[in-house]
Structures are given as structure tokens and as C-alpha cells.
């Protein structure tokens, strides 16, 4: 493969513009069923983001890194996967994990503070959400390489943000995946900011997708607020990886509409005008405009989707209102398969201390 084949196009792939008009040939679009399914996931994803944000304000979640505005990336990353594939999400990718079928309450255990991961990564084929940056990309390569060695037909979707592309592990992961021809799709959600640091202070490369060429990995750019383009580009990348073409790198251009988390003050590093400019490119509005114009999204269907989203939100509220008191003895139970003598002593010490508290 020549280096020219590895380079992304100058302009991100877009199939539907912000007004809902088709900008490519119509047969490049995913099927109406696929787009309706994606739109429903977008509606639910937005509701999850906004509900979680409210739950932070009510003190039910310790923190929530919202993907409001990035939902198209979130749902497309999951919808292009098959049952046997793996998803490697970050802390911001709650909506992706829910789209994979994991109960939002289990996903939010981490952010609620009950434990570090609330779902079974093996059963769900969703890795624990990564909070350090880019470290999970190497795990994704390992899972993919194991799949190759075991003759499994598995692709791994490895997600990260723009800031993570500066980390050493991002580069080691791309290089390892390329050398071992691992079936991994590296999916960068470039939302313009790493907490407060803008992309221009992160990288001066022509695009983040260009970083693939140094490793012999094909890079592509896609409009991150166009769910049709995302399904198409990510779907093709997954198929390429599945058919033995090795790792793929996809950069989505999108925007984080809310602050990094509730602990962040976004007004210190960006203006309202910037945010407003992106509001008109909202992925839900775009998808709805297109589907409505095509006669695919009727009022009944909208009501049905809203109802589903409301049910998800209600279940989230109920699940997160429950005050779960984690068992303090669990502190010692999962450090090793069998606790060391030292941990047994400490468990006994804590049990004794708690029994004295109870006696008071």
C-alpha cells in the first residue's frame, strides 16, 4: 500500500449536511432501517446525557463527562459492531456502552462511586471504561491479537479523544496493531478540547487521522455530527479490519457542547459564540431533518422514540436513587484471586472495628 492510500481525504466525509440534505450520492447512504435505528439510539443517548447531567446536580452521580453533541459518534461506534466484537470505551462513552445493550445503571456505577466498573466486561464484550488516557488502546490491540491467534472473527473498536492522541500509548498501540495486523478500529472523537486545551495546542498535524500514515495505518476523517457518514465510514473500517486489512484509524470531527465534567468551567477557555456555531450542527436535528424529509420519521415514530428514551431515563433515575451501601469487606476480596495473609488480617481488623461501631 502506498502512503497516498493511507492518507485521509482533505475534507471529512459527510453524507448529510446540517440542514438534513444529502450531500453525496443517495446510494452511499446506510439503509433507512439502519438510519432509523441510529436515530432512535441518538434520541435515547441525548436523554441519557441530559438525565445524567441532572443527576449530578442532585448529588446522585459524583461526576459525569457528557457526550452531549457527540451522540452520533457514540451510537455509530457501537451499531457497526457484531455480537462477537469488543468495544473499548473511555469515561465519556457511556452512551456507546448503553447502545451496546448494557444497563445504564450498571454503566454509571463508576461515576456514582459504588465501584470502579459495574458491568461484566467478558459477558458484554465491553472493556471497563478507561479513565487514564490511551492506555486502553493497547489492551484493544491485545484482545484483537488474541482473537487472531484463536481464529476468532472479532473486531475491536478502540475509542479515544483528541487529547489521548498525544499520549505515548496511542502511538505504541497504532504501531503494535499495524505490525501484528490486528483487527482494530481506532476511533478518535476529536471534540476540539482536552479539558481546556484546544486542538491547536495538542497537535499541529494536518489532521489527527494523518497520524496513521507514520505507522502504515489508513486514516480517515468523518463528520462526527453526521450519523449516516459515521455508520458508513466506521462500518467500512470494521469490515476492512475484519477482512484482514489490519488496523484502521478514523477521526470524527465533532464538538463537546458541555463542559468536560461538572467540575470544569468551560467559559474560561471558550466563548458562547463558538458553542452556538456548533449548536446548528447538532447530530439529532440533522438526522431528524433528513428522516422527516424522507417521510421515514413520522409523528408516531417520534412519540415512540421519545417514550423509549423516557423509560430509559426513568429507569436511570430509579436505579441511581437507590442508596447502595457497598460491603466494606469487598475492599479485600478482589485484590487477588485468594487474599494474601496480610489482606486477611486487614479484613479481620476492619470487621472488628465495624462490629465495635455497630455495638455503640
Amino acid at each position: 500500500m502506498s502512503h497516498a492510500d493511507l492518507l485521509p481525504a482533505d475534507v471529512p466525509v459527510q453524507l448529510i449536511d446540517p440542514d438534513g440534505r444529502v450531500t453525496a450520492s443517495a446510494d452511499a447512504l446506510p439503509s433507512p432501517e439502519a438510519l432509523l435505528r441510529a436515530h432512535e439510539a441518538l434520541v435515547i443517548g441525548r436523554r441519557i446525557n441530559d438525565q445524567a447531567y441532572a443527576l449530578v446536580r442532585q448529588g446522585r452521580l459524583a461526576v459525569y463527562p457528557s457526550s452531549h453533541g457527540q451522540e452520533a459518534c457514540e451510537v455509530a461506534a457501537t451499531l457497526v459492531l457484531e455480537q462477537q466484537d469488543w468495544l473499548f470505551p473511555t469515561y465519556r462513552d457511556t452512551v456507546s456502552i448503553v447502545s451496546r445493550g448494557v444497563d445504564p445503571v450498571e454503566v454509571l456505577v463508576l461515576l456514582k462511586g459504588d465501584w470502579h466498573s459495574g458491568y461484566d466486561p467478558v459477558a458484554t464484550k465491553v472493556a471497563p471504561q478507561a479513565t487514564p488516557l490511551a492506555t486502553q488502546l493497547l489492551h484493544a490491540v491485545g484482545v484483537a491479537h488474541a482473537a487472531t491467534l484463536r481464529g476468532e472473527d472479532t473486531v475491536v473498536m478502540a475509542m479515544c479523544g483528541d487529547g489521548a492522541t498525544s499520549e505515548g500509548d496511542f502511538h505504541e498501540a497504532l504501531n503494535f496493531a499495524a505490525v501484528f495486523k490486528a483487527p482494530v478500529v481506532f476511533f478518535v472523537q476529536n471534540n476540539e478540547f482536552a479539558i481546556s486545551v484546544p486542538l491547536a495546542r495538542q497537535s499541529v498535524a494536518p489532521s489527527l487521522a494523518h497520524k496513521g500514515v507514520g505507522y502504515g495505518v489508513r486514516g480517515q476523517r468523518v463528520d462526527g455530527n453526521d450519523v449516516a457518514a459515521l455508520l458508513s465510514v466506521l462500518g467500512a473500517a470494521v469490515e476492512a479490519a475484519r477482512s484482514g486489512e489490519g488496523p484502521q484509524l478514523v477521526e470524527a470531527h465533532t464538538y463537546r457542547m458541555q463542559a468536560h465534567t461538572n467540575a470544569d468551567d468551560a467559559t474560561r477557555y471558550r466563548t458562547d459564540d463558538d458553542v452556538e456555531a456548533w449548536r446548528s450542527r447538532d447530530p439529532l436535528l440533522r438526522s431528524a431533518a433528513y428522516l422527516t424529509a424522507q417521510g421515514l420519521l413520522t409523528d408516531d415514530r417520534v412519540a415512540e422514540m421519545d417514550e423509549k428514551a423516557e423509560q430509559v431515563a426513568a429507569a436511570m433515575r430509579a436505579g441511581l436513587m437507590a442508596d447502595v451501601q457497598p460491603d466494606p469487606q469487598e475492599l479485600f476480596q478482589h485484590v487477588y484471586a485468594e487474599p494474601t495473609p496480610q489482606l486477611r488480617e486487614q479484613a479481620a481488623f476492619l470487621a472488628e472495628e465495624l462490629s465495635r461501631e455497630d455495638a455503640v
Binding site: 465501584w115 466486561p121 492506555t135 489492551h139 505504541e172 478482589h334 487477588y336
Partner: protein, 334 residues
């Protein structure tokens, strides 16, 4: 089994014993993979992986790009998907780029997922000095790993333990850091590798003695035995305990030994401040205080970056320093 026609066991080196452990583990279990830098056709810079690629193929023993974080990070994913990776870090100080992967993921994933994700990963690290190596080739980095909950940390000192402990590490459902004493790679012993050795978490008394207990691990064990030999010639009977397993730590064996003599010296070549030797000293003091005739002493390296080859002999524990420490243990006849 290294056995000659007469039925006697041949002398083999620790390097050969480690190689045999890898070969036997890979033969018994298809999911065991060995990878790292130069471990393929070259057989590792210390030849610990000699012949494994030829025997098991390059899917089972392979060279990776030169990136330690990548090696350990990929091992995490392989373990997530059913493999038992064994990685070589080549030299102690070369393992530091992988530290985040070791500390944040290898050590924690079982805990983070309430036991749903096991990390049966073995991280082999040739450690410590005494070989005249240049900078970054002689660190004793055990304290970093020992301080990380979730890791098991082993330090074999004998040929038999080289085999047994590496086998135990690979069989463990948890991540194990095996600190292989470079200085002892080519020490020979006549051993039957099939004789079971005490498992992970067990210390052993290597030499009986009644006057004082020397507590050592890894490269310091032969040194402690040598010191006990010299002391015996001078009429003092020193007991030598080989800790073997730094995590889990065998308080029972170590403390029983110290109580039997009432005096103890801990020997390790790493910098002494906030070290494994410090931890052992504190544990022994807490548990054996009323049996002690004198404060527990430490003989360690200085609190300096590992020195250049021409100066390492001033830094490393020596027989004389060990015997001086023993002499300071408030003897009645002194």
C-alpha cells in the same frame, strides 16, 4: 529432567531452569505466550527464551516493537481474551515505561471488575546488579512493585526456585512480577526440577543457625550464606532465611526464625530508604519485639542511583558489612 544415564542429576544454570520452566509451561498449555524484545530467534539477551520460537512457532514466542508500555499493555488485552502472556522486560530500568500499565491496569483490573477480569500475566524482569553493568541495567526495583496492591512479587535465588517459581507464576490466576537475579543466571546447581518447591507466599530457612538470623532474597541469598560460612569459622552460628516471595510475605516463617535466634539482620542490595528491607525490619520488630535482644539491622545499598561499574563494590552489601551488622547486635560477651 536433567538426568544423565547413571541416574544422577546434571548441574544446570538458573538460566536453563527458567528456560525449562517456559518450555514446560508452553507445552502444557497452548494459551501461554512469551513475548518481548529480542526474545524470538535471539533467545533473549540472557538466552532465557532460547529455542522457544523454533519449538513453538512465532505465534507463541515472538519479538515485539521496542516499546515496553506496548508490551505490557498488549499483554493486558491478551489476558482479557483468554491468553496467559509471559513478557520479558529485558532489564530492570527498561521496565519503567511500562509502569503505568503495570500499576494502573495489570494490578487493578481484577479489583476494578470485582473479579470478572483476571490478569494471569507474568512479567519477567532481570533485576539487580553485581555484574558490572552500565547505567539503567542494574536497578533493584522491587519496592515499586511490592508497593502496588494486586501484584504478586517473587525473587528466586536458587536454580530449583528459578524453575518452580516461574512455573507457579505462569500458573497463577493473578499477575506476577518475577525478579530474576541477573547475577545468578549462570550459577549452577545439581537439581531435580521435578521435586516440588514451597509455593508462592512461602519463605524457607536455607541454613540453620542459633545465634542470629539473616533475612535475604534474590541476589542477597548467596551472599548471606557466604557470610554465615565465614561466621561459622569464627564460631558464630547464623541462620539464613530466603524470603522468596516478597508479596505475599511469609510473616510466619520469617518471624519464627527470628524468635528462635532473637537477633536479625535484613540484607538487600536496593537503596535502603523506604525499601523492602525497611518493611521486613518493621514487620519483624512489630511481631518479635519481646524476643529480640537487639534492634533489627539492615544491610542495604546506599540511597543513591545505582553506581557505575567501577564503584558498585562500594555500594553493594558485602560479607564484611553483614558480619559487622551481626557484631552490633548487643552480644552479652561483647
Amino acid at each position: 529432567m536433567a538426568e544423565n544415564p547413571a541416574g544422577q542429576h546434571e548441574k544446570i544454570t538458573m538460566a536453563q531452569a527458567l528456560n525449562r520452566a517456559l518450555r514446560d509451561a508452553m507445552t502444557e498449555d497452548d494459551s501461554v505466550l512469551m513475548f518481548g524484545e529480542d526474545v524470538g530467534p535471539l533467545g533473549g539477551v540472557f538466552r532465557i527464551t532460547d529455542g522457544l520460537t523454533a519449538e513453538f512457532g512465532e505465534n507463541r514466542c515472538f519479538d515485539t516493537p521496542l516499546a515496553e508500555s506496548g508490551i505490557v499493555g498488549m499483554a493486558v488485552g491478551l489476558a482479557m481474551n483468554g491468553m496467559r502472556p509471559v513478557v520479558e522486560m529485558q532489564f530492570d530500568a527498561f521496565a519503567y515505561p511500562a509502569f503505568e500499565q503495570v500499576v494502573s491496569h495489570v494490578a487493578k483490573l481484577r479489583n476494578r471488575t470485582k473479579g470478572k477480569l483476571a490478569m494471569p500475566i507474568t512479567i519477567r524482569i532481570p533485576y539487580a546488579g553485581g555484574i558490572g553493568g552500565v547505567e539503567h541495567h542494574c536497578d533493584s526495583s522491587e519496592a515499586y512493585y511490592v508497593h502496588t496492591p494486586g501484584l504478586t512479587v517473587l525473587a528466586p535465588a536458587t536454580v530449583a526456585d528459578g524453575y518452580a517459581m516461574l512455573r507457579a507464576a505462569i500458573a497463577s490466576p493473578d499477575p506476577v512480577v518475577v525478579l530474576e537475579p541477573k547475577k545468578l543466571y549462570f550459577s549452577k546447581d545439581e537439581v531435580d526440577l521435578e521435586v516440588p518447591q514451597p509455593g508462592i507466599g512461602r519463605a524457607v530457612v536455607r541454613r540453620e543457625g542459633t545465634d542470629a538470623t539473616l533475612i535475604a532474597y534474590g541476589t542477597s541469598v548467596p551472599l548471606a550464606l557466604e557470610a554465615a560460612d565465614v561466621a561459622a569459622a569464627e564460631g558464630r552460628s547464623l541462620q539464613v532465611v530466603d524470603v522468596r516471595s516478597l508479596v505475599p510475605f511469609d510473616d510466619e516463617t520469617v518471624c519464627a526464625a527470628v524468635r528462635s535466634t532473637g537477633r536479625a539482620v535484613v540484607v538487600a542490595e536496593s537503596a535502603g530508604f523506604a525499601s523492602v528491607a525497611s518493611e521486613i525490619t518493621a514487620r519483624v520488630t512489630e511481631r518479635c519485639f519481646h524476643h529480640l535482644a537487639a534492634p533489627v539491622r539492615r544491610v542495604t545499598g546506599f540511597d543513591i542511583p545505582y553506581p557505575p561499574p567501577k564503584l558498585e563494590r562500594y555500594h553493594l552489601p558485602s560479607v564484611d558489612r553483614i558480619l559487622d551488622a551481626v557484631d552490633s547486635l548487643q552480644w552479652d560477651d561483647a
